[in-house]
Structure formats: C-alpha cells, structure tokens
C-alpha cells in the first residue's frame, strides 16, 4: 500500500489525463511502491542501462537529459510532482537518456512488470499512460522549436513559462509565488546557452519587468508580459501536463 503523498501526487496528474474509476485507481494504489528520498544531482536512470522499475516523482524537480561527446549536457525536459519519469521503459527497457534530480526529491519506484500488468488489465489506464507519453512528445517538439528557432531571450522566457504554467496547473503554487528553482547553468543546459549568457538575459527580462529579483532568486513579476515576450501558447500541453 502506497503512502498518501505518493498517491496524491500521482493521482492529481493521472486524473487530469483520464477520468479513471474506483476499480482502476484501486489497482494502481495496490502497486508495490518503494519510496526514496534523494539529494540533488543524483542520477535516477543512466543512459544505456536496463531499466526494471519505473520512477514516479513525488516531490522536487528532475531533468531528463543527454550528453554530447564533448561532455555538454542538453536537458530535454523538466519534471515535477506527479510525473512518471520513465513510463517508456515499460515497453523499451534500455534507457536512451539520463534522469537526474535537480533539487532534493522524493521518488517512488514501481516494478515495471506490475505497471505493465495493470495497463493490460485496464485499457483506460493504458490510455492514460499513452496520453502521458504523447504529451511528453508534444513538449519535446516545442523544445526543438525553442532551441532551434528562438533567440536567447525568447528561448529562456519560453522555457520558464512552461515550467510556471505546469506548476500552476498542478496546483502546486500560484504564478506569483513561484520562485525559480533553477541555476543559470541548468537554464543554460535546457536552452543551449552558457550560464553567462543566461545571466545576461535574465537581467534583461528583469529590467523589462517580467521577473523580479531578490538576491540570487527570481520570481514572476508580470506573468502576462513574460508570456508575451516568450511567444508562449500553452496549447501544446493539452491542459494535462
């Protein structure tokens, strides 16, 4: 039986993906969850390994990333409370990317065989998982557009808009209360920019009134302005991410 915080985080996300009934939710609740608290910067999954368990993120933030030959890290997505980090490993057992915590985090590990069994018994659970994977793909498409076709400032603004929008949709925090948890280096790795360039653009976004800065920390000063600068249209999140 899973702890309350695990189920609460997961079902908050899952029920946005699909209206699941009591029997379906009970089957998911009965899965074997192994709860673990982790430090920041810990690898949860490493590229090239065989994965036998799925990771549900309960609290904190995780980055999905790949490394180039010269050691440059490209973050391809950010994850937050309620996200199943590697649902793809229920069907593709070899990891083709890394998952690394960006902050302290709480995760719950679920055996892949159990997840696959529930998905085959309950088609609507399988559909929820498929939707989750499809929305992940929609986010990746948007990120390709972001790093390929937007200038540095728009790119950073867009990436941060997505993060704030997803957090707000999950009911984790209101827009104004969001303090960005990312370092300049992490934002740079997500946008293909150096941390110096990121710092310069964050300063510009602050001077334009989109962000407010207290010491090292940034929060949203004008959400509408930030979205306008970012060319942000949340339609690709399908109101479910």
């Amino acid at each position: 039986m899973a702890a309350d915080d695990i189920i609460e985080a997961w079902f908050r996300k899952l029920t946005r993906l699909m209206d699941l009934d009591g029997e379906e939710l009970a089957a998911l609740t009965a899965l074997s969850f192994r709860r673990e608290e982790t430090e920041a910067n810990r690898y949860l999954v490493k590229e090239g390994t065989q994965v036998t368990r799925c990771c549900l993120l309960v609290d904190g933030y995780v980055a999905r990333h790949k490394m180039s030959r010269n050691g440059r890290r490209q973050i391809v997505s950010f994850h937050m409370s309620g996200d199943m980090l590697d649902l793809q490993h229920t069907l593709l057992s070899r990891a083709d990317h890394n998952l690394q915590t960006m902050t302290r985090a709480v995760v719950a590990w679920i055996p892949i065989t159990e997840l696959a069994q529930v998905a085959s018994r309950f088609p609507r659970v399988a559909a929820a998982f498929a939707r989750d994977a499809l929305i992940d793909a929609a986010i990746f498409r948007e990120w390709v557009l972001n790093v390929g076709a937007r200038d540095a400032k728009t790119r950073i603004a867009h990436m941060l808009c997505e993060f704030v929008q997803r957090r707000e949709a999950l009911g984790i925090a209101s827009v104004e209360a969001v303090e960005l948890p990312f370092s300049q280096e992490q934002i740079g790795d997500a946008t293909g920019l150096t941390s110096v360039h990121v710092n310069r653009m964050l300063r510009e976004l602050t001077e334009e009134g989109a962000f407010a800065r207290t010491g090292r920390h940034y929060c949203i000063a004008d959400w509408r302005k930030l979205q306008a600068i970012a060319d942000f249209n949340p339609a690709y999140l399908h109101q479910m991410a």
Binding site: D151, A152, S183, Q184, E185, L193, T194, S195, V196, H197, N199, R200, R203, G215, R216
Partner: protein
Amino acid sequence: MARYFFHLNQCGSVTADLEGLDLPDLSAGRETAITAARDVMCGELLNGALCLGCHIDIADAKGHVLLTVRFIDAVHVTGL
C-alpha cells in the same frame, strides 16, 4: 574545485554573476569565459550587432578579479 564568478562587462554595463560555477582551476575558468564570450557574441550577431570591446572578469568567492577575458581575444577576426 573552486567557485569562479563570471562578471560580464558590456560597454560599461555590468551583469554581475551571483551564482558562479565550480571548476577545477583558473585555466578551466578561462576556457569557460571564452566559450561564454563566443556565446554572447553569437546572440549579438543574430541581432545584427557585435562589440569586440566587451570583456568577462573572472573573480573568486571574495570578489577579487583573477583574470579578464576580452571578447576580441576569444575569436580570430579576419577580413576587416
């Protein structure tokens, strides 16, 4: 490892680095500053402008500037 801070000076306007990066030594800091200078210049070029007179000061945790990397030293410029 030591923490180095990369302060960007652009024509008198300073973007102070309050976070810094952990790097093995100042030589790695220099490489980081060169890569950053090239990246910032790329952003400027895409907007149709370039200033080679800017520089990045590399400072330690106490705020002492250890090395200055000038943009003009971060690229080979020909054809002027």
